[in-house]
Symmetry: C2
Subunit: 164 residues, 2 copies
């Protein structure tokens, strides 16, 4: 019997991007867990990821600094929650590295689940963002979740294909 | 080489209760991870824990309902973050079960780390509560963190000693 997962999707609160990509699962995992790769694909152009730190274990840091074409910078530090190699990567921006709760602010927070299914030369890629309420889901959607995460995934595929 | 832990204590933000208790480590772990035990010891009397649900895995639910002598009820649902049997139990109330971020509210949130060191018939017991800011630490301290968590630990020892 397969143990069910501890989370439950809620269409009113969650956003999902699911695609089959032409990159083997090992390389998708490598793309998500290696700072040098993240810097290449993670942020839709013309924005760039100028810095990335990864401490790949529960409680470990996932930090990215993104810069816009006019020099704007966003420094995001989150926390890995579950690391199942090549299968599932879970992190949140509701906790700082080391699981410390963030100060509650004006924006929304989310927990992301990247799930990978091995299809040989291809991978079924499912990215889920879970929010605390509908307003958070809507804000994230309006910010362009689907186009943004989709464009980043295109960049991942383009970059990792050169290594397959 | 021992890998360092992903969290770092900050005396300005964190509260720590450390004691050596006359209960073997296995039983302290059992006390923390079994609803029937939690209901006996978790809430300093005259308050009581009337309900407890435990899904002991990362992302799993840790829920307690506490009732006061005048019928007041507090229903708390948090989320386990790390489960290292007999050694370390980490959970937070900043995430709901399944790692979903909570709605930000007026109160403070914390992540708790219960660390157990085997001393034979005794156990070194270290409970840490990590907060996002000094105000959270102070609120938790003013609510009686040290006396409350200490009284609960006394109840744990009293209850589990009967089983040693």
């Amino acid at each position: 019997m397969t143990k069910s997962t501890p989370w439950q999707l809620d269409p009113a609160l969650d956003l999902v991007l699911e695609r089959v990509v032409d990159v083997p699962r090992d390389l998708v995992w490598e793309a998500w867990t290696t700072p040098e790769h993240i810097k290449v694909w993670f942020t839709p152009r013309p924005w760039r990821t100028t810095h990335c730190e990864i401490d790949l274990r529960p409680g470990g840091m996932f930090r990215t600094v993104m810069r816009g074409p006019d020099g704007e910078a966003f420094d995001n530090s989150g926390c890995y929650l579950e690391v199942v190699p090549k299968e599932r990567l879970v992190w949140t921006d509701a906790l700082l590295p080391g699981w410390r709760p963030i100060k509650s602010g004006a924006g929304f927070n989310f927990t992301a689940i990247i799930a990978l299914e091995d299809l040989g030369r291809q991978t079924r890629y499912t990215a889920t963002a879970m929010h605390s309420d509908e307003s958070g889901r809507r804000q994230h959607e309006d910010m362009g979740f689907h186009s943004g995460w989709g464009a980043a995934l295109d960049q991942l595929v383009e970059h990792m294909k050169t290594r397959a």
